[in-house]
């Protein structure tokens, strides 16, 4: 709890019995004795929340298989794999997400490793999102398991202020879906996101405006949104190690030394963030990529993978009713050099075969014997699906191609993604000889 020292009448909310009462000094709820209290000023004005699921993938797996409950669990996969999520038990061993699997297993040899079941996680993520959307239309998903909510003006509808509404939501997610979330509540996105991270798991942190400066000051600059490794090094070299160091400068100096980005950092360092919670972002690109288990220079293997990815991208284009006018091929060589090759200027399309034709012609020029560890295809420059793939004077077969793809799509819808495999993408397993 960080909400001490603010003047004025305060309210204490018990997250277990969901009752708000006038603030006392007690560290436990007067009704149920629970220590899970949050306090905020009477007439709370904070309405921007960030909700983040705790160890999302791992928690889902534990929920579905209770025998794993008290064991360290890592979700991630493949020989080249990294840890996508690890449970809090595994974290006590020092395992972190994005850590290479071999390193994670060295730290925690007894960990259970489960390959990710993305379809399931997406399904659960949607359930949680729809619970959020019941509260406010202003839900901005950041990823599958976290989102911003703007609860401004929703008090009347819920008969409660934002703090209680969010506590109810957390309870509902626990009881209906069986997962825990951490909540951050403040008056802007940056502080809300920061807050949700302060008290994980199953946390609830409210950051009031008056606390913002003091709270941020001792944190490293890397906690600021958008400051990654490179920016951190740059700031550190400029003598800015803590957010407080930035606070100590004036805006003009930051601007003069670090440009427009400096101005942004200066504002964020003071917890000033004017970005709105916007429910829908315009899709700018749709892509698919994969890292191979073993680096490969094999044309057939690369081509086959490319086709599968083009089909995946095409399926998403169709789902979002978009047609693309540019395709980018992405390759990472064994020595981590990135090659991207793009082509645009063709008629808008959402057909896998069209994407594949373009992507393959780009790929073929890159097959110079180099071994690749990653292959990806990305589409952009979108147009409405209506009017796409109508064919023209030269292209008379597109109608049939379209019908064929529609048929494949509906079969896959009904019988699963592997129901139909294109010949080129099909890898026959050698029949065993008697």
């Amino acid at each position: 709890m960080i909400s001490h020292g603010a003047e004025g009448a305060r309210v204490v909310l018990c997250r277990d019995c969901l009752v708000e009462s006038p603030g006392g000094d007690s560290s436990r709820c007067a009704l149920c004795g629970s220590p899970r209290l949050v306090a905020y000023p009477h007439g709370n004005a904070l309405t921007i929340a960030h909700i983040d699921c705790d160890a999302f993938y791992a928690s889902i797996e534990k929920r579905d298989n209770p025998t794993l409950w008290d064991r360290p669990l890592i979700v991630g996969g493949g020989r080249r794999g990294v840890v996508s999520t690890c449970c809090y038990v595994a974290r006590t061993f020092g395992v972190r997400s994005a850590m290479p699997m071999f390193q994670a297993l060295k730290l925690c040899p007894e960990a259970v490793v489960i390959g990710p079941d993305m379809a399931k996680y997406v399904r659960v993520g949607r359930q949680i999102r729809s619970l959020m959307q019941d509260l406010t239309p202003l839900v901005e998903p950041i990823s599958i398991d976290e989102a911003f909510l703007d609860l401004t003006g929703c008090e009347g509808v819920h008969g409660a202020g934002a703090p209680l509404t969010l506590a109810r939501l957390a309870r509902k997610i626990e009881s209906e879906i069986g997962l825990t979330v951490s909540i951050g509540l403040s008056d802007c996105k940056f502080l809300a996101k920061l807050a949700s991270d302060l008290d994980k798991p199953r946390g609830y942190t409210i950051v009031e405006r008056v606390q913002a400066m003091a709270l941020l000051a001792p944190m490293p600059v890397s906690r600021i949104w958008g400051v990654g490794k490179v920016a951190q090094t740059r700031l550190n070299n400029a003598g800015l190690r803590l957010i407080g160091d930035i606070q100590a400068l004036d805006e003009t100096t930051m601007f003069a030394r670090h440009g427009a980005e400096g101005g942004r950092l200066w504002r964020l360092a003071r917890g000033i963030d004017k970005r709105r919670v916007t429910p829908e972002r315009e899709t700018k690109s749709i892509s698919s990529e994969t890292t191979f288990d073993v680096d490969t220079a094999d044309k057939e293997h690369l081509t086959r993978t490319l086709l599968v990815m083009c089909e995946r991208v095409a399926a998403r284009l169709k789902k979002q009713q978009l047609a693309c006018k540019s395709v980018t091929l992405k390759l990472r060589t064994a020595d981590f050099k990135l090659r991207t090759r793009a082509r645009s200027g063709f008629e808008p399309t959402q057909l896998a075969t069209r994407l594949f034709l373009v992507a393959r012609s780009l790929l073929e020029k890159e097959l110079d014997g180099a071994r690749f560890r990653l292959l990806g295809v990305s589409t952009a420059d979108f147009a409405a699906a209506e009017g796409a793939d109508q064919g023209d004077l030269v292209d008379k077969d597109i109608g049939r191609e379209r019908a064929r793809e529609d048929a494949i799509d509906s079969l896959r819808e009904k019988f699963g993604a592997s129901a139909v495999v294109r010949g080129l993408a099909f890898k026959a397993t050698t029949p065993k000889r008697p």
């Binding site: 082509r343 200027g345 063709f346 034709l357 012609s361 009017g387 023209d392 004077l393 030269v394």
Partner: protein, 372 residues
């Protein structure tokens, strides 16, 4: 090498040749022009590895030899020299520089060895025929606008030139399409063209040929085989690689059963299209033609900027039809018709339309409709 020649002669030759040279090159020597002094002539040659141009100019050769210098720099220097000046070119000893002198101006240009200059002109070309510049210009002008720029369908990035039999007579045909429109023009096959392979002449070569025809009105000798073609305009020789691909069977694209015939005066029609399309946004530029008994209403409705319509008289007596086209494409085609009266053969709002001169001239255009 030591040679002297008139600035005018050098400028003319360089002017034709230097255009081939790309502004940006990863291979340094491709930025250069090859100059070769031999037997009272200075020969210039430039290439981008797909296209090569050579031209000779009369010169006073004191010492034979050859070298290469940056093409655009040389061209700019010669262009800026005063009219009527004499230019002398001389290799200046060991340092590998060309000394250019004219009047009291002196330039030292960095050279690359002539032996490194790539050569396209190899092998014999199987077919050879001649065309008047007027005929070649017609073949190109009528089709060039329809060439596609889409890289994916690289085989559409040029003009398809081939010989085919029409009503018992051999015709030389040029065809180009970008999928939205198709242009076809034909003329009686000249002597020597019979049996030639169908070839796709790339866009860049087409553009150069077009510029050279502007400059030099004379008979053009064309030699070609499956992989390369050479166009001789007197002193200027253009050699190009051909696009290695199969041009689509355009015959099945040209509708045979369009029975709605519309005859319209070309000039008023084109003017009306141009006027009405002013209101349409830059992208799309769809114009709607509502064609009924004896009249056509051209209209554009642009939600952003307003609407426009204009009525013109036409000769039409089939069932009324409403059809949309890209205004730009209609104007392109109207600009290529040679007579004053256009004939449109329509089928339905979703099918291609044929546009040609009413009196059945050599050129025929097919245009895909737009949905409006």
């Amino acid at each position: 090498m030591k040679v002297t020649l008139e600035r005018t002669a050098l400028l003319k030759a360089l002017g034709h040749v230097h255009r081939i040279v790309e502004r940006r090159n990863t291979i340094p020597i491709l930025s250069n022009v090859l100059i070769e002094a031999r037997e009272r002539q200075l020969t210039l040659k430039a290439t981008d590895l797909d296209l090569e141009a050579t031209e000779s100019a009369p010169a006073d050769v004191a010492q034979e030899g050859s070298t290469t210098v940056p093409a655009h720099v040389l061209y700019e220097i010669v262009r800026k020299l005063p009219e009527g000046a004499q230019v002398s070119l001389e290799m200046s000893g060991e340092v590998g520089q060309l000394l250019l002198r004219s009047g009291r101006a002196r330039f030292h240009l960095q050279c690359l060895p002539a032996s490194d200059f790539p050569d396209l002109t190899t092998g014999d070309l199987s077919h050879r025929f001649a065309l008047s510049s007027g005929d070649l210009r017609k073949l190109i002008d009528n089709t060039q606008f329809a060439i596609s720029t889409e890289e994916t369908r690289y085989y559409l990035n040029g003009i398809f030139l081939h010989v085919t039999e029409v009503d018992g007579a051999a015709m030389l045909r040029a065809v180009a399409t970008d999928g939205h429109r198709l242009a076809r023009v034909e003329l009686p096959a000249p002597q020597g063209a019979a049996g030639m392979p169908g070839v796709i002449v790339p866009r860049k070569a087409v553009n150069e040929i077009q510029k050279l025809i502007e400059d030099l009105a004379q008979e053009i000798v064309i030699e070609l085989s499956t992989a390369k073609a050479r166009f001789r305009f007197g002193d200027v020789v253009l050699t190009t690689k051909l696009i290695d691909g199969t041009f689509p069977d355009y015959g099945r694209v040209i509708p045979a059963n369009n029975d709605k015939r519309l005859v319209v005066d070309k000039e008023p029609f084109a003017k009306a299209v141009d006027r009405v399309s002013t209101i349409s946004s830059e992208r799309g530029r769809a114009i709607k033609l509502s064609i009924g008994d004896g009249k056509m209403v051209l209209s554009v409705n642009n939600p952003d900027s307003g609407s426009a319509s204009e009525e013109i008289e036409v000769d039409y007596d089939s069932a009324p039809i409403e059809i949309g086209f890209n205004a730009r494409y209609l104007l392109d085609i109207a600009g290529q018709l040679s007579s004053d009266t256009a004939l449109l053969k329509l089928s339905d709002p979703g099918s291609p339309t044929i546009i040609q001169d009413r009196d059945g001239a050599a050129a025929l255009f097919v245009l895909m409709p737009l949905r409006v």
